[in-house]
C-alpha cells in the first residue's frame, strides 16, 4: 500500500521504533518540516514587489541597522508571514482534529459549518461597509455561532454520533452557503471584490498575528497530552471506553478546540481551502496515523505550506495580488486527486 507502510515493513525489526516505524525518521521529518517553515518564512520576508536585500531582512529581524526596506519587511511582510504561518498551522491542526472527531479522513476544519458561519458574518459586515476590525469580529462571531448551532442541534436527544454531527454540519454549511450567495447577488459595487477575496482566503489584511500564534501554541500544548488517547479513539467508541477513555469528554475537547482554532484562523485569513484537508493527509502518508507525531507534524507542515503559498500569491502575478486560497486550491486539488488515485479503497 502506502510507501510509508512499505518502508516500515521493510525496516529491520531490531531498529524499528515501538510503532514499527523508524523513530529517527519521525524526528527527521519533524525537523525537516520545521526547517521548511523557517525557509518559507525567510523567503516570505525577502520576496515581493519592493526589492529587499538579505541584509535588510536581517535588519528587520533586529540583527542590523534599520533602513527603509527593513521597515517594509517589519511593518508589512513580517506580520503577514507570521499570520500566514500561524493560520496554516491552525487549519492543519484543526483538520487533523476534525478527522479524529468524525473518524473520517475526508473531514476538514470547515466540514461542520464553521467557515460558513464566519463567511455570513464577514460578508454581512462587508456589505454594511464596516471597518476591517468589525469584519474580523463579525467573522469570529459567525464562526462561533455556527459552532454552537451545530453542536446544539447534533446533540439534540443526547446521541452524538459522528454521522449525526457530520450531517448537521453539512446542512448548516449549506444554509450559510445560501446566505452567502444571497449577499453576493444583492451587492453590486466594488464590495463584491472584497467579499470574493474573503471567501477565497486572503492574508493581506492580517496585521495582528500574535493571537493566532498564542492560540496555536496553547492548542498544541492542550492536545499533545491526549495524543495517545486520540489513537485509542480511532479504534471506535466502544473499544475506547473499554480501554478506559472518557470518550464524551474527549470528543467535546476536540470539538471545542478544533472550532476555536478554525474560527481564529478564518477570522485572520478568510476561508482558505485545502490546507486543513490536504496537509493532514500528506503527513499521514509520510508518518502514519500516530497522533503523537501527526498533530505536531501537521501544524508544522500547514504553517510552512500557507507561508509559501501566500508568498507565491503576492509575487507570481505582481503587482496583482492573488488571494492565497486560490494558490492552496491550485496546489491542493491535483495533489489530493493524485493521492486518492494512488490509494484505491
Amino acid at each position: 500500500m502506502a510507501d510509508a507502510h512499505g518502508a516500515a515493513a521493510a525496516a529491520p525489526v531490531g531498529q524499528a521504533s515501538p510503532l514499527g516505524r523508524p523513530l529517527g525518521r519521525c524526528l527527521g521529518v519533524l525537523g525537516g518540516l520545521f526547517v521548511a517553515g523557517l525557509f518559507a518564512f525567510v523567503l516570505a520576508l525577502h520576496a515581493g514587489e519592493v526589492p529587499v536585500s538579505w541584509g535588510d531582512v536581517a535588519g528587520a529581524m533586529g540583527l542590523g541597522s534599520g533602513s527603509g526596506a527593513a521597515e517594509v519587511v517589519r511593518a508589512l511582510r513580517l506580520p503577514r508571514a507570521l499570520a500566514a504561518y500561524a493560520c496554516g498551522a491552525l487549519l492543519a491542526l484543526a483538520g487533523t482534529l476534525m478527522q479524529i472527531l468524525l473518524r473520517n479522513p475526508l473531514a476538514d476544519p470547515y466540514v461542520l459549518g464553521i467557515s460558513g458561519g464566519a463567511a455570513v458574518g464577514a460578508l454581512g459586515a462587508i456589505a454594511l461597509g464596516a471597518a476591517a476590525w468589525v469584519v474580523d469580529g463579525a467573522a469570529f462571531t459567525g464562526a462561533l455561532t455556527a459552532t454552537f448551532l451545530v453542536f446544539g442541534l447534533a446533540r439534540g436527544d443526547g446521541a452524538w454520533t459522528p454521522t449525526r454531527l457530520l450531517l448537521t454540519g453539512v446542512i448548516v454549511a449549506a444554509g450559510c452557503g445560501a446566505a452567502v450567495s444571497f449577499m453576493l447577488v444583492m451587492t453590486t459595487d466594488i464590495r463584491v471584490q472584497s467579499m470574493l477575496f474573503w471567501l477565497t482566503g486572503d492574508a493581506s489584511g492580517a496585521t495582528r498575528p500574535w493571537p493566532a500564534f498564542l492560540l496555536l501554541l496553547g492548542g498544541l500544548a492542550l492536545v499533545l497530552p491526549f495524543a495517545r488517547d486520540f489513537n485509542v479513539l480511532a479504534r471506535g467508541d466502544l473499544s475506547a471506553r473499554a480501554l478506559g477513555l472518557r470518550v464524551e469528554r474527549l470528543r467535546l475537547l476536540i470539538y471545542v478546540l478544533a472550532s476555536l482554532l478554525t474560527a481564529v484562523a478564518v477570522t485572520q485569513v478568510g476561508s482558505v481551502g485545502f490546507v486543513g484537508l490536504v496537509v493532514p493527509h500528506l503527513v499521514r502518508l509520510a508518518l502514519g496515523n500516530d497522533q503523537r507525531v501527526l498533530l505536531p507534524a501537521a501544524a508544522l507542515a500547514g504553517g510552512a505550506l500557507l507561508t509559501a503559498a501566500d508568498t507565491a500569491a503576492r509575487t507570481v502575478m505582481a503587482p496583482t495580488q492573488l488571494p492565497v486560497g486560490v494558490l492552496t486550491a491550485l496546489i491542493g486539488v491535483p495533489l489530493f486527486l493524485f493521492l486518492l488515485m494512488r490509494h484505491p479503497r
Binding site: 473518524r103 473520517n104 479504534r235 473499554a242 496515523n289
Partner: protein, 257 residues
C-alpha cells in the same frame, strides 16, 4: 464472599427502553472459569456483556469485580482488570498491525510514556499466540476478516486483563482458528483468568463453558452450571427450534431436529 470470586452479578436485570432483556438473576464467576452467554438473535447478549463490562449501568441490581462495584472503579484502573473484545472491528484509518495491537497497552502507560520494548515484546507474543507472527508491519486495512479478528484478539491479549469479555470471538474465524482461539482463552482461564463470552454455536458452548447464561429473548434467564443449563428442552425453547441431545465421545452435542 469467596476470595476467588472475580465477577459477581447480584439481582442483575437489564432493560433497553421498555423491554426487559433479562430479569433479575445472580451469578458468580471465579478465576479459572469460562462463562458463555447464549441466546437467539436480539436477545440482548451483547447488551448484557456490556453491562458486565461496566460500559452501561445495570437497570437493577449490581455487578461487582473483585468485590468492588463496577461503577466505583476508575475507568483506567478497570481497563487493566477487564478487557472487551467488541463484535465489529472498525478501521477508519490505515494503521500497522503492531500499532493496532499496541493500543491494548494504553491503560498500562502513563500519559507521557511511549510504548517501550517490553510492550512491543508483549504485542509480538500476542500476535504469535493468534498465529500472526510476521504480520507486524502489515496494514490492518489489507487483512482478511479472520485475520482482522485475530488482530483484535491479540490487542486484547496485549491489554492483559484478568477478566476477558468476548463478544463473538469466533466471528470470521475458520474452524481451525475457532478451536485454537477458544482453546487459548480456556487455557488463560485455567491459568487464573476468567472469561465471559457470547457464542452462537451451542456445541462450542457445550465444549468450553463452565457456566452458562441462557437468554430466551423474552426476558427469561437461565443461569448456572453447564450441565444444569444446557438441556435440550430449555435450548429448544430459547432458540425456537427443536434440538436433540446426543453424546459423542462423552461430550454433549445438540443437533437441530
Amino acid at each position: 464472599m469467596n476470595p476467588a470470586t472475580l465477577l459477581e452479578a447480584d439481582q442483575l436485570a437489564v432493560r433497553v427502553g421498555p423491554r426487559w432483556l433479562c430479569c433479575e438473576f445472580s451469578l458468580r464467576l471465579h478465576a479459572g472459569e469460562c462463562l458463555v452467554l447464549l441466546g437467539p438473535n436480539g436477545a440482548g447478549k451483547t447488551t448484557l456483556l456490556h453491562t458486565l463490562a461496566g460500559l452501561r449501568p445495570p437497570s437493577a441490581g449490581r455487578v461487582a469485580l473483585e468485590g468492588r462495584d463496577l461503577s466505583s472503579w476508575p475507568a483506567g484502573e478497570l481497563a487493566r482488570q477487564r478487557g472487551l473484545l467488541v463484535q465489529q472491528q472498525p478501521d477508519y484509518f490505515a494503521a500497522s498491525v503492531l500499532e493496532t495491537v499496541l493500543v491494548g497497552r494504553h491503560p498500562h502507560l502513563g500519559r507521557w510514556r511511549w510504548e517501550g520494548p517490553e510492550d512491543v515484546e508483549l504485542a509480538r507474543r500476542a500476535l504469535a499466540q493468534v498465529g500472526l507472527d510476521g504480520f507486524e508491519g502489515r496494514d490492518v486495512l489489507s487483512l482478511s476478516g479472520g485475520e482482522r479478528q485475530r488482530v483484535a484478539i491479540a490487542a486484547l491479549l496485549t491489554q492483559a486483563p484478568r477478566l476477558f469479555l468476548l463478544d463473538e470471538p469466533t466471528n470470521h474465524l475458520d474452524l481451525h482458528y475457532q478451536i485454537a482461539i477458544l482453546d487459548l482463552f480456556q487455557g488463560l482461564a485455567r491459568a487464573g483468568h476468567a472469561v465471559v463470552m457470547v457464542l452462537h454455536d451451542i456445541n462450542l458452548a457445550a465444549r468450553y463453558a463452565d457456566r452458562v447464561i441462557l437468554l430466551d429473548g423474552l426476558g427469561g434467564v437461565l443461569a448456572g452450571g453447564r450441565q444444569e443449563v444446557l438441556q435440550a428442552e430449555a435450548l429448544s425453547r430459547a432458540f425456537g427450534h427443536p434440538l436433540r441431545h446426543i453424546a459423542v465421545a462423552g461430550r454433549a452435542h445438540f443437533i437441530p431436529d
